[in-house]
Symmetry: C2
């Protein structure tokens, strides 16, 4: 007899940032949390854990997915992106972007996808080749030391909100990508490890369906999510948060996949990631 | 300006065992999870984290509370105990308990409160003084090496369920305590650090009220909780889990506090913990 263990719930990652709060809300309100072992962490640590096999399913930044596409399957219809302005992936500059050739650009981001998008945009759309350096995401300090700065995520959202009157140019990189390519941008998607999907297809199907239900539910309750989140923000109002959540695109339909492929193609051209296999990305088919 | 942080949600512990699953269910279904930073872990690590100040609020085993009562306030009306059989804190023996004087008793528990209760019961109620040793919670192996074994928690619940036909005597220590003292047993309570309660009384009040709502909600949905939990058990059915959840007493009313004081008095008499201060335990009054 001995010690009979419980069955293992799938180990699922969750990004503890504002952009994924609506998804968490949906998982909570729909009751799906009871059926997963949820690990909340930063995007980087979740990327690493999924690739290392310490998570079975989780969000992964597009760049990291492209680097490990042979180990992962994407979950259909689920992503974090924008089809236009995203509000939280920003290139902030004190000089015109066209003057940045050879000038310093501070990268204050933890998201490699957003940083890569900024570099791609500057080099291929604007046509300049700046000198990049990494920096803590403190915008005034970054702009003391550089002519432009890339800031991303909650920090960017808060900084933009708190400083609308500053004499900076702000390029919303979701909007820039859309104007440049005509396509939505996908910053992160949800993936399952191929070995886990092969061993437990039923569990993955359940988790995927729970996420899709959660996405639908949170979209219908977005003002409630925003009000709940605003309780914990110094300066962002429920209204600002609702605007932000509405800017985010949690879908991964045909146009989003086209955007993902276009980004993958350009990233591979730069040598930053391996090319997507033909017909990629590969999806979980539950 | 710089980086404007979000306000800090209270850091709240959660025991990732079956006995606290109804409380988690309630926190999820009521939406309270959105307002806490929940840390799921084993009882021991949560005890340590609360005492170290790495958590603000959390469940704590009664013994650890008694050791650190000067740093903690209990949250009213919330505990994990039983007013009679608890099903998951068991003394299993192959000889009559009265014959255990000088014999070996294996302690397979991670809960110091349950282990202390077993020792108290054997020495003061039964009147024997066995030789104790720690052991992994593998019941057949424990009973190979000892005449009796203390097993506690999910492992005990599963072992008892899987082996009802074995030729062992099983003493349910919740029931034994009740028969012995006439009182309910409190195995764990929820506490807030005094420094945190002094600095953030409003937050603590909110968390406390959320827990009380969660407790009420889960009690009305106990069959649903049991069905959801049974999905992840090899052998425990929804019915067995519902029976277990109904055996648990999540209240901390006048009788439970009397039971807590009686346990504290006996534990202090043994020199295991300091005595409760007069009028103790001290409660958070939000």
């Amino acid at each position: 007899m001995g010690c009979v263990p419980a069955l293992q719930r799938p180990r699922v990652g969750h990004i503890q940032f504002l952009n994924c709060l609506p998804i968490y809300w949906g998982l909570m309100r729909s009751g799906a949390l009871i059926d997963v072992d949820l690990f909340k962490d930063s995007p980087e640590r979740l990327n690493t854990a999924l690739v290392a096999g310490d998570l079975d399913i989780g969000p992964i930044s597009l760049v990291e997915y492209l680097r490990h596409a042979d180990e992962l399957l994407l979950l259909p219809d689920l992503a974090v992106g924008s089809d236009g302005p995203v509000l939280s992936v920003n290139l902030v500059s004190t000089s015109p972007l066209s003057s940045l050739d050879g000038r310093r650009v501070a990268l204050g981001a933890t998201s490699r996808t957003g940083v890569l998008l900024a570099q791609m945009y500057l080099e291929s759309a604007v046509g300049v080749r700046p000198e990049y350096f990494n920096s803590p995401p403190d915008l005034p300090r970054m702009l003391d030391e550089a002519d432009a700065a890339v800031i991303i995520g909650d920090v960017a959202l808060r900084a933009m909100h708190d400083a609308p009157q500053q004499p900076w140019d702000v390029t919303d990189l979701g909007e820039a990508w859309r104007t440049w390519t005509g396509l939505p941008m996908v910053f992160a998607a949800w993936a399952v490890r191929r070995d886990f999907a092969a061993a437990h297809p039923g569990l993955v199907k359940d988790v995927h369906e729970a996420f899709l239900r959660s996405k639908e539910l949170c979209l219908t309750e977005l003002d409630e999510v925003a009000a709940a989140a605003a309780r914990w923000e110094e300066t962002l109002s429920a209204e600002s948060l609702a605007t932000y959540f509405r800017a985010l695109d949690f879908s991964l339909g045909a146009r989003q996949v086209e955007g993902l492929r276009e980004f993958a193609r350009r990233a591979a051209e730069r040598g930053t990631v391996p090319p997507l296999p033909p017909g990629g990305p590969a999806f979980f088919e539950g």
